[in-house]
């Protein structure tokens, strides 16, 4: 009961490969339909697409390039474990400071939240440069204002945030319990 011709595994592979951002399954379906792949049974089409993607992912399992399910889409990326070899020749951007990373973590878990809420959790005031660096990297975005006096901006994470961490959705962030599961307060 195949609805997607065999050739389209390659077409989808090329499609994902050619795009700058993770490719959603929705746009893959669109591409299939545009290329006259039968679309009578959408569930069957979607299921088969899923199979093809898994098959592709399998094919790249042992390669230097991998197919990842990221930020609600699919994207080819270099294999994680090759990083030590690649960073010797690829210029890396500056890493986020500890303050920026913590602020990002607070926003990820408490979004949408205000600057005052972030400051309250960290117990220190939030430097403008920290917010600026997060905004510049398109990791956070304003999501309206809070209905309190002064109408402070509410912050949330972006699609790029997921892409940056290689996560498919916010659900993939570790649960509180998981983080505390390992032996706490080791000072070593």
């Amino acid at each position: 009961m195949t609805v997607i011709p065999i050739l389209f595994k390659e077409v989808l592979e090329a499609f994902i490969f050619s795009q700058e951002n993770p490719v959603s399954e929705k746009s893959m379906i669109e591409l299939l339909i545009k290329n006259a792949v039968s679309s009578e049974d959408m569930t069957a089409l979607s299921n088969e697409l899923q199979l093809i993607l898994e098959q592709l992912q399998q094919e790249y399992r042992n390669k230097g390039i991998r197919l990842y399910n990221i930020a609600g889409g699919w994207q080819f990326r270099t294999a994680e474990e090759l990083a030590p070899y690649l960073v010797k020749v690829i210029n890396k951007p500056k890493r986020l400071s500890r303050a920026a990373m913590e602020t990002l973590a607070i926003i990820a878990y408490h979004q949408p939240c205000t600057r005052a809420e972030i400051e309250n959790i960290r117990g220190v005031s939030l430097g403008q440069n920290v917010l600026d660096s997060l905004l510049e990297s398109v990791l956070i975005k304003p999501c309206g204002t809070k209905a309190v006096p002064g109408r402070p901006i509410l912050w949330g994470t972006t699609q790029d945030f997921l892409s940056y961490l290689g996560l498919n959705s916010l659900q993939d962030l570790p649960k509180k319990e998981d983080l505390f599961a390992d032996i706490p307060y080791q000072t070593s």
Binding site: F17, S18, Q19, E20, Q75, F76, R77, T78, A79, E80, A83, L86, V87, I90, K92, P93, R95, L96, S97, R98, A99, M101, E102, L104, A105, I106, A108, Y109, I121, R122, G123, V124, S163, Y164, L165, G166, L173, P174, K176, L179, F180, P184, Y185, Q186, T187, S188
Partner: protein
Amino acid sequence: MSELIDIGLEQGIWETESFVVHLDGFEGPLDLLLQLARTQKVDLSKISILQLVEQYLEIIESARKIRLELAADWLVMAAWLAWLKSCLLLPEKPIDGEETEHAVDLLQERLEELEHINKVARWMNDRPLLGSEVFTRGYYEDHTEIDSSGVVLDISRFMNAYVGVARRKSKKKSWRIRSFNFWTVRDALSRLKRLLGQSDVPGWHVLDAFLPSYTSLQEPGVTIDMISRRVKAAWSGTLLAGLELAKDGQIQLNQKEQFGRIQLKKADEEIKQ
């Protein structure tokens, strides 16, 4: 415990914590408190707040001996913790006791929350990050093609264009009407002079005789109404030209009665002089 303090030495941000505390390495008093709590090596909910408070106050006290300009928020925290310590040591006041319990809970909650965030930040930092450890394709292909063979054609722009042409055309027409050839005074002057020069008939002539012929005023496309206006223009032109010549003494004009016929003749020699 003053050996805990080593002010001026930056602590590496992601280095594992040692027992030595560098104030500059901490992101505020809460961060320091969390670090002190960690050294108790127990669950945050079971830490000894009293011990924690004592450690913090001791550090701040010895730090102040070295650096008087210790930041306000460190000192505010110290004051608040000093109050908390006094309450914990003197638990007999029942009202204060409740308040103290609440304060302890609050401190514990905040430390737990901060600990959580610390762990998340560390977890995030340890992930293979895009651009640092993993990389996407460096080159993108654009398979979009722009098809501009079609034309935008909406009826309103189309009609507008046609109306535009028509209006321009009709404006041109009315401009030409205004530039019609009227008999000017100058035309009349030259005609009068010419006819007088040719005329070998002495005596009076009616002015009408010097008007251009009716047929010469007729042109194809010119309405009857327009012709009668041309005739009137020729009349007034000729009259003005006659008056001009009379002023110069070249002719004599004569009108016997009001609205009567105007007559003219060449001036006599004696009048000319």
